[in-house]
Symmetry: C2
Subunit: 246 residues, 2 copies
Amino acid sequence: MEPFRGQPLQPENHTKQRSADEDAPPKQRVQDEIRRDIIFGALPPGTRVTETALATKYGISRVPVREALRALEAEGFVESKPYAGSTVSKIPVDDAEDLFFVREALESATARRAAHRAAAQFGSGAPSVEWWQARKVLAGVLDEGDAAVAQNRLELLPELNIRFHLGVAELSGSASLTALLRQIAGKIEWLYATDVDNRGKESWSEHRSIIAAIDSGNFADAEKLMANHVHQSKEGYLDRFSAEEA
Amino acid sequence: MEPFRGQPLQPENHTKQRSADEDAPPKQRVQDEIRRDIIFGALPPGTRVTETALATKYGISRVPVREALRALEAEGFVESKPYAGSTVSKIPVDDAEDLFFVREALESATARRAAHRAAAQFGSGAPSVEWWQARKVLAGVLDEGDAAVAQNRLELLPELNIRFHLGVAELSGSASLTALLRQIAGKIEWLYATDVDNRGKESWSEHRSIIAAIDSGNFADAEKLMANHVHQSKEGYLDRFSAEEA
DNA sequence: TGAATGGTGATTGAATACAATTGCCGTCAC
DNA sequence: GTGACGGCAATTGTATTCAATCACCATTCA
């Protein structure tokens, strides 16, 4: 359910943000690790993943491994058959177009709502605590991403990208939209990781303008900018993929 | 992951379609049972569900119960905190509007795609086996639903409704859309169950025209009809809910 | 009197042990 | 030579047991 541990509400410990989370619960640890391996290609699609192998690899029992695999199955990263084991899912290039379509619809609505909510926050006296916290986290993500771009560490962008978009969802205040976006966030990151060298920098630069529109309560612009942002990602990905075919 | 057992590919055994699935794997059994209890109100939101209680209730061990709870958590029916247990989620009336919004976007695209695919099936010689099977299942669902309406057994409609819409998704041939729709299908059914007495009959009658548009390959109509269908559901639900408030 | 603190029961998290199912491989009959 | 049948190994599904954590409540001290 929760793709990313770390404390999004306490932005003070930015240093060890993503260094394997030594002390996290075993189940969460293996789940994150396996997902990471899948997203970044260490576990190619079709790979057979057995519980015992993972259990011995991480030095834990099979039970937490099972739960991790089940969670990953719900996220769409692995597929399981009863008594037959689990395999890494086929990378969703075939229905990437669908994924982007849904994402465009989801995120446009999210951005619009976030802008509305931002206007309401500032309109009626002081902003709520939760809104302010979410906004603060988002600011941190933006800074981190800019730093990553400046240092040319593009491998950090996939996760930051997800955190940005989930942050906007938080800002929208809609639990439903956040949950749905979180559902497809994993696969988005999967696609993004294969395309980050191509459009990563340009894509990231668009984020600030989206936030600016949201902050100013300009919901029409926010919706439009977000739609365009996702649309560009889609085009870029599809172009790259069809080019790769040839 | 798979909310509905039963053999959707073998429409011959319609009789015991949903009579608790005696011989199903325990995990699946409790998962379906708990979800059902939540949807139909036997387990009201906020209810605390402990693993031991469920284990003794169903006469099995805690492990399958755990997995069932985790799966239901992924579906959004229960919420869990580490070492603190699980509780039934608040019924998503607050973000019902979001849910319907996303659903409208998803299902419009699904219907459009299904119509496109139907035209392609008939255009190029014989339809594929899988398409034909999916279409056949859908026909069965439509008949079952009509029978349920005729016999005034409206309690059967929530599940049939989900099976109809998932059937259309299957017809669209997009695994991505199907998976996403399946994700929100549970909550949709949850809402639907509270509104079935109000709009169940009328809603069901609209299904045939949608299928007709899909069959004839009229993708514009299919999309429009589906969008309208979902929109009507939304309006009906929101009206009823706001009326209930007063 | 109020708040901090320690203990205790309940509940989940994880590990180990056992049962059930599957797929494969060798063998054998035809 | 080819097909089917039977046994075996590998793997998952389930049960049982133990450890870690948390919430609640009584107690105690300022």
